[in-house]
């Protein structure tokens, strides 16, 4: 039993390292893999341009994949356990919807004859997305304190999402084609646009969020037995719930702010990971899901670059393409569906 888990862990980590290396080696300029290792470990390269490409483009992108994938997956797992719902994901709290609304306001507000910003700076977009997330988070924390039951909270989250989505639709209807295009590009998600400073912020957020998730291992486990048992085991249900929502929000919010709304990773990864590491024990599952999320997003990014070496597909299209069949498969195998 213990050995089986160790072997599977090794496989998972090996896959992660392999995908990371593969991700670094792919791009519009072909750089041989040995050169890449030399650049990373020696800092020397045959062409100095290659150093810049590897460090400032490929490394940032691969790290973004790792951080964003891990963050979304950990958020998704926590939401699935909290809501005892196999189809919950980071977006059930309406956070990405909040971010989308804020970003849509920035891009498309000019059409509502409110010329807020002529050319939105990327950092401004990130800030707006964070603000949108935080706004929804405050609503959700307030609701979480008011409502004792998880299903109500889930429904409120979905309603917040629906409301913001409809406001975005109105904005889209009013806006000019060019503005709409910019917004739609943002919704495609992007893993490549981060500089080292932004990666620093994203990694701090991911570490804080993952740290909070680790601090709730006991709670999440006890929660599997339901609220009543959790309480009888000394879990402070209200406080823990706030911590879990906070963790998921920090993780989702940071990723959405820098990479746009990346769908399905948070929903699909916990299920995919459980295929490899077959347990509900969060002490094993949280680290596994972090690794699994990172691996999946690296994989999606590799696939996104494959079709033509100069053309990169939008990441969100691919995560959905991989995520949706997983969701269907989960529903078809419903009798083995366990959260």
């Amino acid at each position: 039993m213990q050995r089986k888990i160790t072997i599977r862990w090794t496989l998972l980590l090996l896959a992660l390292i392999l995908l990371f290396a593969l991700n670094l080696s792919l791009g519009s300029v072909s750089i041989p893999l040995p050169e890449i290792f030399k650049i990373i470990f020696d800092g020397k390269a045959t062409h100095s341009v290659w150093t810049d490409i590897v460090w400032d483009f490929r490394m940032t992108k691969a790290l973004t994949c790792v951080l964003a994938g891990a963050a979304l997956a950990a958020a998704g797992l926590q939401m699935q356990t909290l809501f005892r719902n196999a189809l919950a994901g980071p977006d059930v709290l309406g956070l990405s919807a909040g971010a989308s609304l804020a970003v849509a306001l920035i891009f498309m507000a000019p059409s509502g004859s409110i010329a807020l910003f002529a050319h939105p700076h990327p950092l401004l977009v990130s800030l707006a997305a964070s603000a949108g997330c935080i706004f929804v988070l405050i609503i959700m924390l307030w609701v979480a304190r008011k409502l004792q039951d998880h299903v109500s909270l889930l429904i409120v989250g979905l309603m917040v999402g629906a409301t913001t989505a409809s406001i975005v639709s109105v904005l889209q209807y009013l806006s000019k084609a060019e503005e709409m295009r910019v917004y739609i590009l943002w919704t495609f998600g992007s893993l490549g646009g981060l500089n080292w400073n932004e990666i620093r912020i994203l990694s701090i957020a991911t570490f804080i969020g993952a740290g909070l998730a680790f601090s709730q291992i006991k709670t999440l486990n006890a929660w599997l037995l339901g609220d009543q048992y959790a309480t009888s085991l000394g879990i402070k249900v209200g406080k823990s719930r706030v911590m879990i929502i906070l963790s998921a929000s920090i993780l989702t919010g940071a990723v959405t702010a820098f990479c746009g709304p990346i769908a399905f990773v948070g929903l699909a990864v916990p299920h995919l990971t459980r295929l490899v590491i077959n347990t509900h024990n969060h002490k094993i599952l949280i680290p596994a899901v972090l690794a699994g999320g990172a691996a999946l997003l690296l994989f999606c990014d590799i696939v996104a670059q494959l079709p033509g070496s100069t053309y990169v597909l939008p990441i969100n299209a691919l995560t959905a393409l991989i995520g949706a069949p997983v969701v269907i498969w989960i529903i078809v195998r419903n009798k083995k569906l366990r959260v």
Binding site: L225, Y229, H280
Partner: protein
């Protein structure tokens, strides 16, 4: 019974129920109960009387409307989770966890965030598993277990929690007779040997009457009658509360209508006598020990049972109760 027992929990003027949109639904009021050490208490009453609510309130999972619940000795650290463990009716059969993991959950009130077990914790878990004899199932997943096994796992988990008080909500529901007996025996032995106070809500009248040290019976006036099982039977409390239809609790039998109007003299003893009596009453005869026109006497050889039937002057013999009834 003048010995003063150690009491773990008392309630003072406790009101129980829930509030829904400012209307108060009171299930019990003015409860002054106590849970003494080393006693198995069966909590009985019809469905909907509020047994589960009372258990939840005592366990601190639901706030009382008013009144006081005191636990002795008072909690030092870790709160009530180190004093009361519960086994509820919540379904947990779909979880992808091993039996061992779930029993370990019982140690959570004593563990830090990373749930690292000390040697002492492992020993307690092992002891809990042994008491319930779950060793062969340790590495099984919950979804592979039967209902009875699941119940045993949850009881082991409660034992691992190592609390002086254990509250169980219908632990024997949906189980077959063997499993029910096993669980009741286990709980009785636990209360005797470990000085735990065990309170269980149950509908198993027959089992409860034969195993419980004390009975709590939901009363008519939102109160609870407490007493020895036998006393409550003899003073008619059970009959009053359950309003049995066709069941005579004092004899422990279903009441039969002697619709045939025929009385049979039955001579014999032992289990065979009891079951023959049962068969005759079940099929509408009345039984008497005195002389009647029809008499049945039991003859037990070394090898087999025979029934000798004397009808007026005719004498017949039957080798089974089925044939006995046919010749009558």
């Amino acid at each position: 019974m003048t010995e003063k027992r150690n009491v773990y929990l008392t309630t003072t003027n406790l009101q129980i129920g829930y509030v829904h949109r400012k209307t108060e639904n009171r299930l019990f009021e003015g409860l002054n109960l106590s849970l003494p050490a080393g006693q198995l208490i069966c909590f009985m009453g019809p469905n909907g009387a509020g047994k589960s609510s009372l258990l939840r309130t005592l366990a601190g999972l639901q706030a009382p409307l008013s009144g006081k619940i005191e636990i002795f000795p008072p909690a030092e650290s870790g709160g009530q989770a180190r004093q009361i463990s519960v086994v509820l009716t919540d379904r947990i059969n779909t979880l992808n966890l091993t039996v061992e993991e779930v029993v370990t959950f019982g140690r959570y009130p004593y563990l830090g965030w990373n749930i690292r077990l000390t040697a002492a914790d492992k020993k307690i878990v092992k002891a809990a598993v042994e008491q319930v004899r779950l060793e062969p199932l340790l590495q099984k997943k919950l979804y592979e277990l039967s209902d009875g096994q699941l119940q045993m796992v949850m009881i082991a988990r409660a034992l691992a929690q190592d609390t002086p008080l254990i509250l169980l909500d219908e632990p024997t529901a949906h189980l077959d007779l063997n499993n029910r007996l096993e669980i009741m025996n286990l709980l009785r032995n636990l209360s005797r040997h470990t000085e735990k106070a065990i309170l269980l809500a149950t509908h198993e009248l027959d089992l409860a009457l034969q195993t419980a040290d004390l009975i709590w019976l939901t009363g008519k006036n939102r109160d609870i009658l407490t007493g020895f099982p036998e006393d409550l039977v003899l003073n008619g409390s059970f009959d009053e509360i359950f309003a049995f239809k066709g069941f005579d609790l004092r004899t422990g039998k279903v009441r039969h209508d002697a619709f045939r109007g025929i009385t049979v003299q039955l001579l014999g003893e032992g289990a065979a006598y009891l079951w023959t009596k049962n068969a005759l009453e079940r099929t509408g005869f009345s039984i008497s020990a005195g002389h009647q026109e029809i008499s049945v006497s039991l003859v037990e050889d070394r090898t087999r049972l025979r029934w000798i039937i004397k009808k007026h002057t005719r004498v017949e013999e039957a080798d089974s109760i089925e044939n006995l009834l046919k010749s009558l």
